[in-house]
């Protein structure tokens, strides 16, 4: 009886150990698959972390896309296996007005309300934010002074998401440089520019917003823009932790007496 119990306990402990080890290894695999900072998701995708907690990997978005833009990530790649993504240099997103990928997603991982006006009733594909097109002016031949506006012409939001800036060509002293410039407030991240770029490895390319954009934080406000100050409402800083109001110092007897 006692011997039997001993074996039971040993069996239980070894099982517990196996479960713990298995859990850690398994967890490691899952973390591995979660770090997908550079992966571009279909239109309407929720922020990456929420997206991964919702996508069931059914591929219905992939099938819905008429341009074969989307594909499911394979095992052992830089995206969690089975999640939908796109590589705009291969096939960009053509911004279908009926956004079938988002509309057909059964889980809400692609959220219609993110790509529509008035709370989801009218689809507006221009609200798509797959990422942001970023320029590498070192390798942009237009920035060299050559004549190229391939990305500008390819942009479905021409003159809104990409404009051309005319500047002086300092090298020749007598020509212009026609510089493409991306505007984050309009850029959908569709990647048609990246697809169109004529140099060997695109000098304009889409990065996920989290990667492409900085963040100002609460320390700076555009005083000239109405409402921008409301951005920092409710935030606290060092001044809030003082015992007295800074103005009290100016009004204090010390200063007046001197």
């Amino acid at each position: 009886m006692a011997a039997g119990k001993g074996i039971d306990r040993r069996g239980f402990l070894s099982r517990l150990t196996a479960a713990a080890v298995g859990g850690v290894v398994w967890g490691g695999f899952v973390t591995e698959g979660k770090s997908a900072a550079l992966v571009l998701r279909p239109p309407g995708a929720l922020p990456e972390k929420v997206f991964l907690g919702k996508c069931i990997k059914c591929g219905i978005c992939v099938e819905a896309c008429p341009y074969d833009t989307l594909f499911l990530a394979g095992p052992g790649t830089d995206a969690p296996t089975g999640t939908p993504r796109l590589l705009p240099r291969d096939v960009p997103c053509y911004l279908c007005t009926d956004i079938p990928c988002t509309a057909e997603c059964p889980t809400g991982a692609l959220d219609v309300s993110l790509v529509s006006d008035d709370g989801g009733r009218t689809l507006d594909v221009n609200k798509t934010r797959i990422g942001l097109a970023v320029m590498d002016y070192e390798n942009c031949i237009a920035a060299w002074g050559l004549r190229c506006d391939a990305c500008y012409r390819a942009c479905p939001l021409l003159d809104k998401a990409i404009t051309i800036e005319h500047t002086r060509n300092e090298r020749t002293g007598r020509h212009a440089v026609l510089l493409p410039k991306v505007h984050p407030d309009a850029c959908t991240g569709c990647g048609l520019c990246e697809r169109a770029c004529v140099v060997e490895k695109a000098a304009i390319f889409v990065l996920p917003l989290e990667v492409a954009l900085g963040r100002v934080g609460n320390s700076y406000v555009k005083g000239w823009e109405e409402g921008d100050e409301s951005r920092i409402d409710g935030t606290t800083g060092p001044a809030d932790e003082l015992d007295s109001h800074p103005l009290d110092y100016l009004n204090s007897g010390d200063l007046q007496d001197d």
Partner: protein
């Protein structure tokens, strides 16, 4: 002709398994609308949603507030398997079944995969099932879906395999060389989930003790033969949820002592058949 008869359920299962995958593949490659998506979630004829209830439960554990489409789909699938036998999925739909059946058939032929050291017990799958839910909650993603060889296989068949072959080959070799029925019968948490679902199934294997000559052919082919303990002892239904309703025991029985039937009252082994 006899071989057709003695393999009738096997042939039917292969046809169903293949048909489901062909319809899904056609949905992706040729735009067929009968069944679009994959085994994780799909749409029948553009209207009825279906979804893998275990994947949905993992996503819910991960904290995902899912849209109603996929929840309805999971409920429909769950109801279907709760009536027909949870693990009907395993033997009639899951494409991994063809891989492990082949491994186990070869294992029986070449006497491999039955070493004295068993790696996993029959209940390991329930621990793994629990672990899948705990890890999903901690990591915020569906943990089994992140590593599932079944997912890689079925997604791979529809959308392109990539390195998924490695996982499938690993399962095949594990079953062939290390542990017979190792994956489906010991490890797989999806099978464990469907075993729990199948506990109330209405369609069950029925054993007729009067006809049985105790040849035990059924135990040789059954992937979960621990549940056939009533064979040669008592009449009644095989009530254990791990029965996959594959019907293999029925077709190999030379005495017609086994059949599909509705769920019958459990016969206790002590009181004998009646």
């Amino acid at each position: 002709m006899t071989s057709l008869r003695t393999n009738r359920y096997l042939i039917a299962r292969r046809l169903v398994q293949t048909a489901v995958m062909v319809l899904l593949i056609g949905g992706n490659l040729w735009g067929w609308t009968v069944l679009r998506g994959n085994l994780s979630s799909s749409v029948v004829l553009g209207t009825v949603p279906l979804a893998d209830p275990f994947a949905v439960i993992q996503l819910l554990a991960a904290g995902g507030l899912l849209a109603t489409d996929v929840l309805i789909g999971a409920a429909i699938t769950l109801a279907f398997y709760a009536l027909l036998g949870g693990r009907v999925f395993c033997s009639w739909v899951c494409p991994m079944n063809m891989v492990t059946d082949l491994a186990n058939r070869l294992g029986r032929r070449f006497k491999t995969g039955t070493g004295s050291r068993r790696v996993f017990g029959r209940s390991a799958r329930y621990f793994i099932l629990g672990l899948a839910l705990v890890l999903s909650a901690i990591m915020g993603v569906a943990a089994f879906e992140a590593i599932s060889p079944i997912g890689m296989l079925q997604r791979g068949l529809v959308f392109g395999m990539g390195a998924g072959w490695l996982a499938v080959t690993a399962v095949f070799l594990f079953d062939l060389l290390i542990q017979r029925n190792g994956f489906c019968g010991h490890v797989c948490p999806l099978g464990a989930f469907y075993a729990l679902v199948g506990r109330t199934a209405l369609v069950r294997i029925d054993h007729d003790h009067e006809k049985c000559t105790s040849c035990m052919d059924c135990l040789k082919v059954c992937p979960e033969n621990q549940i056939l303990e009533l064979v040669g002892q008592a009449s009644g239904s095989v009530l254990d949820g791990v029965c996959t309703n594959c019907g293999r025991c029925i077709e190999v029985c030379p005495d017609a002592a086994l059949s599909f039937s509705h769920r019958k009252h459990a016969m206790s082994l002590e009181s004998g058949g009646s």
